[in-house]
Subunit: 111 residues, 2 copies
Amino acid sequence: MLIISDVLRGHTETIILAHLINKDSYGYEINKAIQEKTQGSFELKEATLYTAFRRLEQAGCIISYWGGEETGARRRYYAITENGKQLYAENKTDWEKAKQLIDKLTGACTN
Amino acid sequence: MLIISDVLRGHTETIILAHLINKDSYGYEINKAIQEKTQGSFELKEATLYTAFRRLEQAGCIISYWGGEETGARRRYYAITENGKQLYAENKTDWEKAKQLIDKLTGACTN
DNA sequence: CGCGATACCTCGCCTGTCAATGTATATTTT
DNA sequence: AAAATATACATTGACAGGCGAGGTATCGCG
């Protein structure tokens, strides 16, 4: 991985939720989508992904159902809930704030 | 703390280095500076701060020396090294990349 | 003298990441 | 038909960074 993963830490859930906003999806597909989007410069590890799914489901932010085994192995689909949409919105505004804050704090100070 | 700390994770060292770029400083002062800069919306916890100092010193990114007890308790000053300046520069470019990446990945996807 | 501010430090827990490993099925290759 | 590859999900155990809680010491003020 080219990008230091500690910086990405804490964004896993938001990344997942972002992918579920428009349509239901499943782990493998989300992972592939991320790899394509970032052209390999960042990969969500499977273990990380699935533990995040567990967290989100337990928090009532997503729900899961089995389906769509037509093409290959069985898939567990996830759908975002109202809770999830709310969390996504919160995380997005938090991120905007955090971005500014980090920019300010990591700028060489002249005082 | 208002901002989710996991998002800030991994930036502690960069924040410290940023404060040492222009002048030597010590823990308490750096902490106070951060609190003022962010108007209380983010506080680097002492335990976090001092463990980060240890890490940075062990990595040869900063060096420490005792001094300046004139006003109160004794202070341990830190100075940035060439290694530290390099790490700072790397972290900054990483951050720019990561910012773009996160923005891209947490945007609701329309595909 | 007690209290608050200054200043530093450590222990142990918690949480998120991830390498390693395992399972099962479908498709493609040999 | 067997082997390899791709699809797809899941768990375990280790690791690292953040931080709550607690501790030490000095100085000035009332």
